[in-house]
């Protein structure tokens, strides 16, 4: 599905690379012993190191290194056993050091790849350029006071992973799929919670356009700090259209940082000049190079969980699921585990249908995460067993499912309580049918004259008389026998 911008001078295509900042899941910050948790009272999770008091020295948190390496392995990327922390110099009120400790020339993780599953069933490989560790800045609040900004340094010094993609993205949908896949991988690994609303995952996009068929890259612009997948896609669309319009009007695109205004759905240049972004990187004299051993990397590798791509592959190969169903189930690790519990010892396709159509549908409607699901996987499994055993018809099962979602009770209890058991007892059904036939000879004659459709009406009447509890298979069979006379 190509994304073509039709201009007056011909067709243009979009070229985009993403920089994703993921906050590393850890107890303490990257270079200090302060807590890294979200949502504490302002400036209560700040040490004198995070506040950049003179004479304070950074000491690296080894778990953060492990998390970065783990993420790199999850991205099938090369791990650099030698990497260097450098200072990126700039001034901003929420950056007390006047520089950010980051990695520049020698990042801890090199090239890797993320595979996207597109809705049309195709896959796309997006290259990863690098992943490096760096410190997060503090948080500025501008809307509390007319004249002042308030600075909270709780986030200052929390470990970030910056994951830079190659300029392989060609459509806004791919950008969305890339972000969701990256988030899924990091959540599987437990290295970043991927919560864009809380800012633990943020995205900068680099956008340029070129004529279809061109191979070089034109000047790009950057939009920073997009905090939702939707905004990323909107900003890309706007920016690409703007650039095409500029080129066609005979203008040039200048390399600049632009802001995305989500209220207006447009980008505009930042007032700060590009000139200010002369970061003058140099190796941080407070920190020695980071040297890892292959043994350290191998030990982390040995603890990696099964990742979404492998899980999907296994669901298709071993359980016979369609790629679409398998993809839907593995997007979240919890959902995949839930499904596997339901499917254990049962028909995998039936289990997949119930989890995807009914369970995901219910969770979406209620706005719930799978972690807060009112129905346990064991109980959903039991519900499927009741269908298989003939105790519940498909329709009754849906009713029981609704009740389970409301009450959290197990299906057997609900069937007992509400008397929802399917009637398969031929005697009881026969009595209902005999009564119907006796009272509706007109319809019986129609059937005998060859109007097969009438049988549907009879089925409906039997179901109505039994509050939907009659076994549809038994009803059909008995009706046909009796109507024929």
């Amino acid at each position: 599905m190509a994304y073509i911008i039709q201009g007056e001078t011909g067709d243009w295509e979009l070229v985009c690379g993403l920089e994703v900042h993921g906050q590393v899941v850890s107890n303490a910050k990257l270079f200090s012993g302060s807590a890294a948790a979200f949502g504490a009272e302002p400036n209560t999770q700040v040490s004198l190191i995070d506040a950049a008091m003179p004479g304070m020295l950074p000491v690296i948190n080894e778990y953060c290194i492990e998390q970065a390496v783990r993420t790199g392995l999850g991205l099938k990327a090369e791990i650099n056993l030698f990497s260097v922390f450098e200072r990126k110099n700039y001034f901003y009120a929420d950056l007390p050091q006047g520089y950010q400790i980051s990695q520049f020339k020698h990042p801890v993780v090199g090239e890797g790849v993320v595979i996207l599953d597109m809705p049309d069933g195709t896959t796309r490989a997006i290259g990863i350029e690098r992943l490096h560790m760096e410190q997060d800045a503090g948080k500025s609040m501008h809307d509390q006071d007319p004249k002042r900004s308030f600075i909270d340094l709780n986030r200052s010094g929390v470990c970030l992973m910056e994951i830079v993609s190659k300029p392989d993205i060609r459509t806004p949908e791919e950008a969305g799929a890339y972000l969701r896949k990256l988030r899924s991988i990091m959540r599987y690994l437990g290295t970043c919670d991927g919560n864009m609303e809380e800012g633990s995952m943020r995205c900068d996009i680099n956008v340029s356009v070129r004529k279809v068929g061109e191979t070089g890259l034109r000047t790009r612009t950057e939009c920073k700090n997009l905090n939702s997948v939707r905004f990323v896609m909107q900003a890309m669309e706007y920016e690409a259209a703007r650039q095409v319009e500029a080129y066609e009007a005979g203008e040039e695109i200048v390399q600049e940082t632009r802001l995305f205004d989500s209220a207006r759905g447009e980008t505009r240049p930042m007032r700060t000049k590009e000139f200010a972004h002369d970061y003058r990187y140099f190796p941080d004299p407070d920190l020695l190079p980071l040297k890892l051993t292959q043994d350290f990397v191998d030990r982390i590798k040995a603890t990696l969980p099964e990742l979404p791509d492998d899980k999907k592959e296994r669901f298709i190969r071993e359980l016979g699921l369609t790629p679409y169903d398998a993809g839907a189930l593995v997007a979240s690790r919890r959902a995949a585990e839930y499904f596997e519990t339901v499917a254990k010892g049962r028909d995998a396709k039936t289990a997949a249908n119930w989890v995807i159509s009914n369970l995901f549908g219910m969770l979406n409607a209620k706005g719930l995460d799978i972690a807060a699901c009112p129905i346990t996987a064991e109980n959903l499994g039991k519900l499927i067993d009741l269908i298989t055993a003939g105790t519940l018809s498909g329709r009754l099962a849906k009713d029981v499912f609704e009740l389970m979602a409301e009450t959290g009770k197990d299906p057997e209890t609900l069937v007992e309580e509400k008397g929802l058991k399917q009637i398969s007892d031929t005697g009881a059904i026969e009595a209902v049918i005999d009564d119907l036939i006796a009272r509706n000879m007109g319809q019986v004659e129609q059937f005998r004259a060859g109007n097969e459709k009438v049988i549907g009406w009879f089925v409906g009447q039997v179901m109505r008389a039994t509050q939907g509890k009659a076994n549809p298979g038994v009803v059909n069979q008995l009706l046909r026998d009796k109507l024929k006379g």
Binding site: T44, V46, V59, I60, M270, L288
Partner: protein, 95 residues
């Protein structure tokens, strides 16, 4: 590598140091001499020599992932010119 006055102006801006125009010529001269002094190192043949990162054979010291610090808001905010709602209050910085 001699520095010109424009470069001095740029460096001063990046470092947020106020340098009056009349001081630029003198600074350009001084900085050029400092750089020139350091550039003598280029005369040494370093072909095949690994860059040295430390005089002692040490490796990067690491800490365990434990919360051992923080929770000292009063101390952190002690030198702040202005404090409001537990935050540093600074002149508005917003695009």
């Amino acid at each position: 590598m001699p520095l010109d006055q424009d470069t001095v102006k740029t460096i001063a801006f990046l470092a947020r140091i106020k340098v009056p125009p009349e001081a630029r010529a003198g600074l350009a001269n001084e900085l050029s001499r400092i750089i020139g002094w350091a550039e003598q190192l280029n005369e040494v043949d370093t072909e095949g020599v690994e860059p040295m990162t430390s005089v002692a054979e040490m490796s990067l010291f690491r800490r365990a992932d434990e919360v051992t610090d923080g929770n000292c808001r009063e101390r952190v905010l002690l030198n702040a010119p202005e404090v409001a709602a537990g935050c540093f209050a600074v002149p508005k910085v917003v695009e």
